[in-house]
């Protein structure tokens, strides 16, 4: 009996001191969220833009970030794929700390789509090339790498006895197939947004709404696990906002995980599963759209909503 009590005490002790940092949970083999941000701080010179933020995004969530101009929303979003290098803290994506310089960031960014306010389509390429550039380049790069490894294996196999020979890595694809697949996928995506006839035109000939929808499918062509949107409709003429939001909503309905910085409160209310209110570099309040818009607690949030609604 005494032994039993002792064990319980020890267990509760251990529980009290259990390390809940992402690194420790990963080390224990515990589940972590798709994106986990830990004590994230970002300074531009002396200006503290993000102040020790800890937050996570679960698979399937649609997180809307709202807040006044200059509150750090864009910076927060850009830290999620380390487009902006955090001053301190960690950003875990699928269990890998992206802030760690040893991590191959390009590998992880392929799985995080990003859509900008200014579209940022490649001006020197037609629409099709815009969409296929990254898939083709990365496909060919991986193919070359596999082939190089195989060449090395073949060479080292020369010195191995018949029984010890290592098997070569499988190569099921070819440069031609990679190009063709990427093209077909791009055309399918363009057809989906009704712009199949624009495959060969340059971005400068398209409307803002068309450009933004193409920017979205360009990101989708990489089959991302999460999509990050930074005010995707703020640079659009009012009559084009609808078509872009419609596409984003479709993605949400298909189950895409997304983080979206937006000034479209109606959209946030309709699509988001969770809303974060940022101000002064901190997440001041968060909750369901019903809570945030229907029953705000934070004074600054109330003030903000009274201005934008």
């Amino acid at each position: 009996m005494k032994e039993e009590v002792k064990r319980q005490l020890l267990a509760s002790d251990a529980y009290a001191e259990e390390d809940v940092s992402v690194a420790a949970r990963l080390a224990r083999g515990e589940r972590v969220a798709l994106i986990e941000v830990e004590n994230l701080t970002k300074k531009f010179g002396d200006l503290v833009v993000l102040d020790d933020i800890t937050e996570k995004v679960e698979q399937g969530e649609k997180v809307a970030i709202i807040g006044p101009s200059g509150s750090g929303k864009s910076t927060f979003l850009r830290c999620l794929n380390v487009l902006e290098d955090p001053t301190s803290g960690a950003v875990y994506f699928e269990g890998a700390n992206l802030v760690d310089k040893k991590v191959d960031i390009n590998l992880h960014r392929r799985r995080m789509g990003m859509v900008f306010q200014q579209f940022n389509l490649f001006n020197n390429m037609n629409v099709l090339k815009n969409i296929t550039l990254a898939p083709v380049h990365i496909g060919l790069h991986d193919l070359r790498k596999t082939k190089a490894k195989n060449a090395l294996l073949r060479f080292t196999n020369l010195f191995r006895s018949a029984a010890n020979k290592k098997t070569l890595l499988p190569v099921q694809t070819s440069a031609k197939k990679i190009r063709e697949d990427a093209k077909q996928n791009a055309l399918r995506l363009l057809a989906r947004i009704g712009l199949a006839d624009k495959a060969n035109v340059y971005p400068s000939t398209l409307s803002g709404g068309q450009r933004q929808r193409i920017a979205i499918v360009r990101a989708l062509a990489m089959n991302p696990k999460v999509m990050l949107f930074d005010e995707p409709t703020s640079a659009l003429d009012p009559e084009m906002v609808g078509e872009v939001l419609e596409l984003i909503k479709e993605l949400a309905d298909e189950g895409m995980t997304m983080v979206i910085v937006t000034h479209e409160m109606g959209f946030a209310r309709e699509v988001a599963t969770r809303v974060l209110f940022m101000d002064g570099g901190k997440i001041q309040e968060q909750g369901t759209p019903q809570q945030i818009f229907g029953d705000p607690q934070n004074e600054r949030l109330k003030d903000f909503l009274s201005k934008v609604l």
Binding site: H108, R109, N120, F122, N124, A134, H137, V201, T205, A215
Partner: protein, 230 residues
């Protein structure tokens, strides 16, 4: 006047000297610019990438010293220094034309690096960011996205650089390279009638520059058209 010039030019094979000079001038100007573009581009890219790592920062500093030196001293002085301080004492025995190509290439690289830097910076940073967020590396995004747009922006300025370097080659004679100027000068010094050779010399440079100007305009128009293509 005409007779003696004709005599110099045709009878005494002066035209051969002038053709040799023309060839050397073109080689020095064109190859010099090619070297300048390659070198200048590398320096500019390193500079733009300069904040990314310590190694890049060191290279960027080296690039700054290089551009400062070559932009801060006259090209004639650079030629003389290379000829008398570097090539002669080290007993590097190369053809005067190649010596000029090297010096003009280094000189033009310093100017082109500034041009390219401006060209790269004129491309919206969003283009680079878009490439990076798709998982493309810095180098690949630079090569496939930023560069082609930067080059389009700097073609007019590079054209000016071509014209400038062509005229600058007229000092190659200081280290004994037979360029256009030296060729015509030696025609002149063979005779008291010095007026015509120098007038012709000026005309030849003028014609070359006009031809270059026309070519640059055509290239510019082509590039602009490709952007509007629908």
């Amino acid at each position: 006047m005409w007779d003696s010039f004709y005599e110099q030019f045709i009878t005494y094979d002066g035209y051969k000297l002038v053709l040799q000079g023309l060839q050397n001038t073109m080689v020095i100007a064109l190859l010099g610019l090619v070297i300048g573009i390659v070198l200048g581009t590398i320096v500019a890219v390193i500079h733009v990438a300069g904040t990314r790592s310590k190694v890049a920062r060191v290279f960027a500093a080296v690039g700054d010293v290089y551009t400062t030196i070559f932009r801060g001293t006259p090209i004639v002085v650079q030629l003389l220094v290379f000829h008398f301080v570097i090539f002669l004492p080290l007993k590097i025995n190369i053809n005067g034309v190649w010596e000029s190509v090297i010096v003009f290439g280094l000189n033009s690289g310093a100017y082109v690096s500034e041009i390219m830097r401006g060209g790269i910076q004129s491309v919206d940073v969003g283009q680079l960011e878009a490439g990076r967020t798709l998982g493309l590396s810095f180098t690949v995004t630079m090569l496939k996205v930023v560069f082609p747009q930067a080059v389009k922006n700097v073609v007019p300025t590079l054209g000016n650089e071509l014209i400038a370097i062509t005229k600058d080659t007229s000092v190659a004679g200081y280290v004994g390279t037979t360029d256009l100027t030296l060729a015509f000068s030696s025609l002149a010094s063979n005779d008291y009638k010095i007026i015509l050779p120098y007038i012709f010399l000026a005309l030849v440079y003028l014609v070359i520059v006009i031809i270059f100007t026309v070519i640059i305009r055509v290239v510019e128009r082509r590039l602009r058209k490709s952007e509007r293509r629908s």
